[in-house]
Symmetry: C2
Subunit: 214 residues, 2 copies
């Protein structure tokens, strides 16, 4: 029997800790090599186990993927919403957008969260798995749509734009960072700042009024 497997903390059962180790190993492998080239043997080795032992913790490879996908989107949702809400209820909608952009970049580039592995393999999953997680992703998309809508209603956004296209382009710029960002040359925060400037104010010289961060 498999244990109930709550989120693993220090006091958790051995099983829960091993399970977490497996998820981490898998996420790390996926982040580096994509979905299909990673084998259960790879994951097990990284986690210090034999391939067959994974089946004590997960019913199948798909089950393992599911765990990572959920954790990843969850991390993004939580991080972004917290960052926005930390500004308080009456905050400037552009400042809220800036906070969301920064939070998204940070979580996507962090190694601990599984958001990066998530993005990396999203496009590679069999349709069956992807559909199982569509709802969660839609929720995240709706969150961003609301951010943009509020900003537009406040008159902060130019009115010649289709907000859903803007949203996809924005998230694209942010998500793609996982493909090229390597620690060292510049920090995730710097990337986030660049992204916010570019998306909100544009790269062309010529003052757009809002430049300071909230």
């Amino acid at each position: 029997m498999r244990s109930v497997a709550p989120i693993a903390d220090r006091s958790a059962s051995k099983s829960a800790r091993t399970r977490q180790r497996i998820v981490d190993a898998a996420a790390a492998a996926f982040r580096r090599h994509g979905y299909a080239s990673v084998t259960l043997k790879d994951i097990a080795t990284r986690a210090g186990l034999q391939a067959g032992s994974l089946y004590y913790h997960f019913d199948s490879k798909e089950d393992l993927i599911d765990a990572i996908l959920s954790a990843g989107v969850d991390a993004a949702i939580t991080a972004t919403r917290d960052a926005v809400e930390a500004l308080g209820p009456g905050a400037d909608p552009v400042a809220r957008l800036r906070a969301a952009i920064a939070a998204h970049v940070r979580v996507v580039l962090s190694e601990e969260s599984h958001a990066s592995a998530n993005l990396r393999i999203l496009g590679q999953l069999p349709d069956a798995i992807r559909e199982r997680h569509l709802k969660q992703q839609r929720a995240y998309g709706a969150f961003w749509a609301a951010l943009l809508r509020d900003a537009a209603r406040a008159g902060a956004i130019r009115d010649d734009l289709d907000l859903s296209v803007v949203r996809m382009l924005t998230l694209g710029a942010l998500n793609w960072t996982t493909e090229w960002y390597r620690a060292g040359r510049c920090s995730p925060s710097e990337v986030a700042a660049h992204a916010a400037t570019m998306i909100l104010d544009g790269i062309v010289r010529g003052a757009s009024p809002r430049r300071r961060r909230g």
Copy 2:
């Protein structure tokens, strides 16, 4: 023996035409399903052949991938450079950027070119294959770097930005369109226009001086 296989046109040998059919089928499959979930049998079926017959035209699956990758980056390079050069030598550097953005989006969203398949599978390839094509991709990156550098030298770009970060964020926004764009709701040109506006001028209301297209 395999024939020399030039680019296939109508007058080409039967072999060359079949080869092209295979490449097209493979690119279409990759664009839809990613790299590893596409089997040689799938590709062969789409091309109207048996799996084994592919080996008359390609030495291996990797060889086939290589053909698609080269064609894809080639298409992007050609399309973008042509669009920029069509503006003439003395064109406004921001207009050149706008043209490059539009051309990149168009080629990436076109079904015929293999650029979309290319992007889709880039992150999923075994390292060996990817490294073989790094040089070509670097060349494309250098082209964009030059576009941005010229614009910056002309004083058209705000000076608080790291241009290589801007470049990656920009290409990210454009490349990610392959993940969400579906024909119907709006045209690739509209997406391109939104991307250019967002990247160059920002989405926040408040006049940035350059809005008209070249």
